[in-house]
């Protein structure tokens, strides 16, 4: 899933300066799963914003809505009725959903209520861990199912870096596993350590952000 986290409250209070009718809009998909922008979080942030703004002597009307998926035009369209009644939208969806809303309602100020941070998995309730960085040149087949791009602090294609702690944790944070240690352990368990001796050449980054904004076209699916 795409994960996100609320922006700090003072930042949201600041961006809402001058607005009096605000719509807080969530998305019931990824950001709901990571407890940042689903219906629960929308209904939590709305009264919180009202109270934080009140402390600065500002009274705002806050409406709320949570779309099934904020990254699909059909669902974004559901906001057409309420949009004329507000002067700003705070979206708790990932950056994709926020941009979809901004594109559909260009006349409105659309603000991110969250920072989108990673493609992640819920490791256990309340803990999410990055798993993929959408690099466009997947090497999971060579790295025994562990992503070194998203999970190594240095995104090393040929690791480890030499800083791995004795307990297998990364040198930058004792709570984070060294992914190259994990890769090695899995390779060893599968009797394939020699595969790691092969030097992996630089990745082809041009298939993701480095090749300009990514565009995928499937002629067979186009209108």
């Amino acid at each position: 899933m795409i994960i996100a986290e609320w922006k700090p409250l003072p930042e949201l209070v600041e961006i809402l300066k001058g607005h009096t009718n605000v719509l807080v809009v969530g998305c019931a998909t990824c950001v709901a799963e990571c407890a940042a922008g689903g219906e629960r979080e929308v209904e939590t942030l709305a009264p919180l914003l009202q109270m934080a703004l009140k402390q600065e002597g500002r009274t705002i009307n806050v409406r709320t809505s949570t779309l099934e998926r904020q990254c699909e035009w059909e669902f974004v369209e559901e906001l057409a009725k309420v949009a004329p009644q507000v002067d700003a939208i705070v979206s708790l969806a990932c950056g994709i959903g926020i941009q979809a809303v901004a594109e559909r309602f260009p006349e409105l100020a659309v603000y991110p209520g969250v920072n989108t941070t990673a493609l992640a998995i819920r490791q256990e309730p309340g803990t999410w861990l990055a798993r993929c960085a959408a690099c466009g040149d997947c090497v999971l087949g060579e790295t025994f199912g562990f992503c070194p791009v998203a999970r190594c602090a240095k995104s090393l294609s040929n690791g480890p870096c030499g800083g791995t702690r004795k307990n297998g944790k990364c040198e930058i944070d004792e709570n984070i596993d060294c992914v190259w240690y994990q890769i090695y352990e899995r390779a060893k368990a599968r009797g394939k350590v020699e595969q790691l001796l092969k030097v992996r050449k630089p990745k082809n980054w041009s298939n993701s952000g480095h090749g300009g904004p990514k565009r995928v076209v499937r002629e067979d699916l186009r209108p």
Partner: protein, 144 residues
Amino acid sequence: MKDANRSVTMPRIVVVYCRNAVSSAAELLEGPYTVKGLNAFFAALPCSSKIEPSYLLKILADGADGVLVVACPEGHCRFMVGNVRAEKRVNYVRSLLDKAKMGAERLTLERGENLTEKDLLSLAQRRVEPLKILGPNPMKGDGK
């Protein structure tokens, strides 16, 4: 029942309590209770874990001066860990209230067992002074 003059100075407290934390007689305590130096509203829940951060914040955004959550003692939850979840949520909302500069003290959690109506009233009563010190909720009057 409502005394308009008193409610100006008397904090309005919403008490949400776990039905299993009280004796059967205390379950009758539902709705507003505005006598004896107390301006409170009581609501029973099937388990304290039924509280959601959004409910607690909405109660405060609607102008209540304080919210008191009453849960069973740890280890005595009919639903295993409901009251532990409730405590975590209360702590989370308290942190949000601090960030909103509303004061974490507007939301508190108490634990108890076989509580009588009198016990519930006295738990609510204990919130009056701290909430008076905190001052009235600035959201008062904005509530729907």
